[in-house]
Structure formats: structure tokens, C-alpha cells
Symmetry: C2
Subunit: 379 residues, 2 copies
């Protein structure tokens, strides 16, 4: 029986381990029908041919439809064109390439959601600090209409989705199993919420269980679907660093959040920043600036409070510095200390008096504590 391109992609996604670089490349070059035919012919080994022969495409389609799960391919309007960037990335840990298709669950429109999207990733074993930062970042991004992308794990992933949900903003979860399964089960309520109001994404068919290799393959989708990836907390060995590698391979912004130097969970972010792989970010505003088009969302240059001495010329500053605070000094003493003539000194003291910075009486001059102005934002 001849299969359509779409059915061949669906069949491949059910049979071939996700992110198999040989098959993804063949499909990209010659199409899924050719690849599927070769697979059934045993070109990729007898076990795959056996699995191919056993797959029930119609049954799978029917089962997915019942569970309100849709399968999208590059032919569909909902397909995100950014995944094409995976075409030229060399495999990382033996996984790579453009997925055959994506299984989606939820009302979100994938292509539109990823027009402005940032991945927030990190350790399952996050600290309270890291979870708090992930929540704040996600909420801040979601408030600006930026889609938060993450996995479905405990720790940073769950905190990121939680922050986006609290802000009522768009969020999207890419899982390493079928979108009908809740893994880990403890995040069941989160998955239910994402499925009913947002979007769950996977290249694995319904019913598929996660493996370490599937997590590694999944990470390339998180990176490629986003304009940039923020690593909030991660140990030196962690999946988040694999996602970071993909972000770099796909020429996406890689960002990392600093933390206490003693925290093992900040070791990977610190290393990536130190080595110039990632840009340090501390807030949603920092992230927005980096992932937005030039001139959009530029952040205010952070400044401390300004002081009345900021714009003083050298001589006036010298006079001001020469006026004591805890006692009074004569004009002569101030002039001597500042290294200016008495008439010049008097002129400067007059100006400083008018500015409320010194106070002169018959017994001499005293400096007043200068008022601090509130920080002003350069906009």
C-alpha cells in the first residue's frame, strides 16, 4: 500500500528512535516516503523492518484523535519553521536532525507560540533560590507575551511553567514521552493544566515512555523552538548543559543566571558565563533585551542614586570636600585646605550654600549631608 508523506512521517515517529541522525537526514533530503520504504525493505536492519511491519498507522491515528492529540508535519501551517535550523547542526550525543513530526496536545498554536519564545531550563534538584528565580523570570517574560518553553521535570522546569501560568501568559512544554502520559506523575496537575489551556509537545507517539536518550533528543527541540535558552541552575553534569549545547549549535542566545559561588547548582551557569558561552542575566528585562530585535526592549542602564556632587567642577568639589561636617571652619581654613584663594573660596561657598550643601554662620562653615536623589532611568 502506498503511503502519503504525512502517514510515512507518522509511522517513522512510531518506529524510529527519536532524533536518529541517519533517518532524520534521509527524510529531510529525500522525503519520508522514501525513508519509510527503505526501512520496511530492511535497509536499516531487520529489527527496525520488523517494528515497521508491525506498526498500525490507522490505529495510532484513531487513538490520538480520541485523546485530542494531533500530529503535525512540515506541511502543516502549525509547523514551526525554526526547526529547520536543526538541519545543519551536527548530532550531539548521537541525537540530531529535524523531527519527523510533532505530536501536540492542547489549544495552543505551535507556530504562533514560538514566534517569541524563551526556554527556561535547569536542574530537577533546584534550590529554593533557583526555583524562585525561574518563577520570576517566567512570569516576567509571560507578562510581556513571550512564550516560556521548558520540559516537564520537577525543579526549574515546573517552576518556569508555574511562573508563566501565574502571569496568565503563554507556556509550552516539550516532553520526552507521549503527550498523553504524565511523567513525572507528581507534575500531573501541571500537565493537565498545560493540556487544557496551553500546549504539550513531543516527537514521540502517544504511549511512549521516556528514556535518557529521549531526553537528550528532546533537548534539541527546546533549544531550537526558542529564541534563547536561560539556564537557571544546573550541576556540572546535567541535561540543561545538553540543551545549552543545542542552543549554541542552533545559534540561539544562551543565557545563565548567577548564584552563590558555593552552590553546586550554580556551578554550570558560572562555568558557562566564565567561558563566554552564556551571557549573565538576572531578570526578565535582561532576557528580553537579548532575545528581542535590535532597539526593542532595551533595558535602562542601571545606575545608583545620583548625588549633588556629581556635576561639580574640580575646584568647587575641592572646596566642598574641605568643609568639615562635624565642626565649623573659617573661610581661610577652608581656602587653605582646598588650595584656592579666599575670594574664590567665598564665591564657591556661596554657591554651595545656595544649593543647600553647606551652612555658613559667624563662627564658620559646616557641610550638610547632601540629599540623595532617587535613581533615574535612562530611557
Amino acid at each position: 500500500m502506498a503511503v502519503s508523506e504525512r502517514r510515512a512521517r507518522l509511522a517513522l515517529s512510531c518506529v524510529v528512535e527519536c532524533g536518529d541522525p541517519n533517518l532524520t537526514e534521509l527524510v529531510d533530503r529525500q522525503g519520508a516516503v522514501v525513508a519509510w520504504t527503505q526501512l520496511l525493505d530492511g535497509r536499516f536492519g531487520a529489527p527496525l523492518a520488523q517494528r515497521g511491519a508491525a506498526v498500525d498507522i490507522d490505529g495510532m491515528t484513531c487513538q490520538a484523535e480520541k485523546a485530542a492529540i494531533r500530529f503535525v508535519t512540515p506541511e502543516d501551517e502549525e509547523w514551526p519553521s525554526t526547526l529547520g535550523d536543526l538541519r545543519h547542526c551536527p548530532p550531539v550525543q548521537r541525537r540530531g536532525g529535524i523531527p519527523f513530526g510533532l505530536w501536540l496536545r492542547g489549544p495552543g498554536h505551535l507556530a504562533r507560540l514560538v514566534e517569541r519564545a524563551v526556554a527556561i531550563v535547569g536542574s530537577r534538584a533546584s534550590t529554593g533560590y533557583g526555583a524562585g528565580v525561574a518563577t520570576d523570570l517566567a512570569a516576567g517574560l509571560a507578562e510581556h507575551g513571550v512564550t516560556v518553553i521548558s520540559g516537564g521535570a520537577y525543579g526549574i522546569d515546573a517552576a518556569a511553567h508555574g511562573g508563566a501560568l501565574v502571569a496568565g501568559g503563554p507556556t509550552l512544554c516539550v516532553v520526552a514521552n507521549g503527550v498523553d502520559l504524565a511523567y513525572p506523575p507528581g507534575n500531573g496537575r501541571l500537565f493537565a493544566s498545560l493540556a487544557s489551556d496551553h500546549l504539550l509537545v513531543s516527537e514521540l507517539p502517544p504511549g511512549a515512555h521516556p528514556t535518557r536518550m529521549r531526553f537528550l533528543a528532546r533537548n534539541r527541540l527546546i533549544a531550537a523552538l526558542s529564541k534563547g535558552t536561560v539556564v537557571v541552575e544546573a550541576a556540572l553534569r546535567s541535561g540543561a548543559r545538553n540543551t545549552a549545547t543545542w542552543a549554541m549549535e542552533c545559534s540561539r542566545q544562551l543565557m545563565a543566571v548567577p548564584g552563590p559561588v558555593h552552590s553546586a547548582m550554580s556551578a554550570a551557569p558560572h562555568l558557562m558565563i566564565r567561558d563566554g558561552q552564556a551571557t549573565l542575566v538576572t531578570s526578565a528585562a535582561d532576557v528580553l533585551e537579548l532575545v528581542s530585535d535590535l532597539g526593542q526592549h532595551t533595558i535602562a542602564m542601571p545606575r545608583g542614586a545620583s548625588r549633588p556632587t556629581d556635576d561639580m567642577d574640580g575646584v568647587r568639589l575641592a572646596v566642598f570636600e574641605a568643609v568639615p561636617r562635624r565642626r565649623r571652619a573659617s573661610v581661610g581654613a577652608v581656602a587653605m585646605s582646598a588650595g584656592v584663594s579666599v575670594p574664590d573660596c567665598l564665591a564657591h561657598l556661596g554657591a554651595l550654600d545656595a544649593a543647600g550643601l553647606v551652612d555658613g554662620t559667624a563662627v564658620g562653615w559646616r557641610a550638610l549631608v547632601p540629599p540623595t536623589r532617587r535613581p533615574q532611568l535612562d530611557t
Copy 2:
């Protein structure tokens, strides 16, 4: 009366506000005798001429000798040649140039101390976190024979000296007042300890009090005397950022310590790292690598613990991943799941069994929790 170059420098240091860019440049170009003569002639204004006429060089020399304070100039063997790098730095906040001379107190030999020296600077209002990091960094550097340079303020400065003292290593304090004075008084014991066992340095004569301008001038000495400056904690407006500017002007390494993103005291370090001015450092080892000659003190590439799966080829990894942990599976099921033939699967399972990674019985195969090897250092 004709003065020697040395006496002229001493007189200038008593009369001219430290770091006056006009006079430091003139002295550097034409010598201190010429500058002193011009100053007495009123070329720099009547007030400076008056102050010059009033200075008692012999009295000052005698007073310093009694207090075991010495005055060193570029003629002296103890003079640090690195200060020459200030020659080409443009003034920062109206201060700059090579000091006329330095007033020293303590047994330390200045030139030798700064051969390998790192400045640790930061806020007076440091947090417990910042003070702890400064102490650790200083102790770690001092243990490696690196001189710790800082000011005499509360907070990061005091913590840095404290760490160096605990490690029994070299430390050096550059103050913005006479080296005979304890400012702030609360650090009196620290100054006494530095004066008796280490070194206090100032370009201001004995008896001089600190001013804001003198702190700004002092900061250029801290930066220029060091191979690099580490900013541990600092608010957006702080003297530490002025020192950081000097470190960059003098082409020294600028380093900064990350911290929690919510901490105002980490705002300046984060900004400097984000903008690429400073390199992120988390430990004395990081600092040592950056300030040492190429190939010296290279730090081990931090890695997480290695795993037995690290070097597995793709097929064996697929077999291993296909073996369940919580139940047993038949060879046929594992082969199907891994996408390999049964004979191949058996061969891989045998190898995995020999490596202690799986366990096979009559009822099937089960994966064992792989042992984690300790992290190994790449040296």
C-alpha cells in the same frame, strides 16, 4: 635653597592634592625639582604657593622617621615599577598620574610584595556572603604566595586582609590618609597588625585625613599595584567600580564574583560580567589562573562525576537503556525495544553484565544502578 629630587617629591606629596593630573604629569615629564620650583613661583596659584612656602620638609622627615614611616620614590629599590602604567591612563574623576612618592609603614618590601599581587575590593556594606567569599579568596591567594591588596575599610576590605592574615600570607593595605592614622578607627587592630607584620601604603603624608577625592585617587594605586582586581560585592554606585575602571585603564585583569540576583550588593559585579568588563570568578583557583603567566596555575576543567555510560557506543547504550530497572524483561523484549537483533542484543547484554550494569536470570534482564565514579581532574 636648592632641593633634591627626593625632597621635592616629599614636599609635593605634602602640599599638592594627591593624584592632581597636571602636577603628576609635570613631575613625570620634567622632574619634581622643576615642578616644586614652579609651584613656589605661583605657577599653580597663590594658595598652593603659600602652602608650599609653609611646608617643613625636615620636620616632616623627622616626624616620619620617629613613627617608623619611610618615604620611597622612583629612585628607590623598593619602588614598584608597575606604577609606571599610570603614565598613559587618562584621569578618572579628575584624579590620575604616578604618585610623587609613597609613604610606607611596616616590614613588607613593596616592590617584592607586588610582584604577584591581586586586589580584592568591594563594599563597606557587604553581606555575610560577600565577606565570606572575600575571606576565602584572600586566604586561598595568600596560601599560594600571592599578595592580597585592599583598602582599610569595613566590609570586603577588612575581610580580604583578614583572610590573608589567617593564611599567614602576604597582604598590603593602601589607605587614603596618613599611614599613622587608623581610619576607620574600628579597624585599628587590623592596621596595627598590618603595620607590625605587613605593609601600609599611602601617597598622603603622615597626619593626612581621608576625603572622598583622596579615596578616588587611592583607588588607582590599588589597581595599578595589582595584576588584577576582584570585585566581590558592590552596589551600582561604589568606590569599587572606580577601582574597576582603573584596573581596566591599566590593562589589568578585572574579575567579579557572582551572587544571588536579588542582592543589591551583587548588582555591580553582575553588570560588569554581563557587559564583558569583568571575568566571572568563584574561587582563588579561578583568580590564580587569570593572573598567572600562561600555563601556570591552569585550573582543572570542572566536570561532574563520570558515568559508565560515558564511553558506550550507540548500539550498546540503546540496549542498556532498553533494560528496565524495576522489573525484568526478556532478551526478545529488550532487543525489540532497542531496535537490534536478538543475537546482537545478547552479546551486548553479556558485556553489560560483565561491567556490572545489568543482571540476567532465568526470568529476564534488569538494569543495575550504575556506580558513579568520583570526578577526575584533567591536569
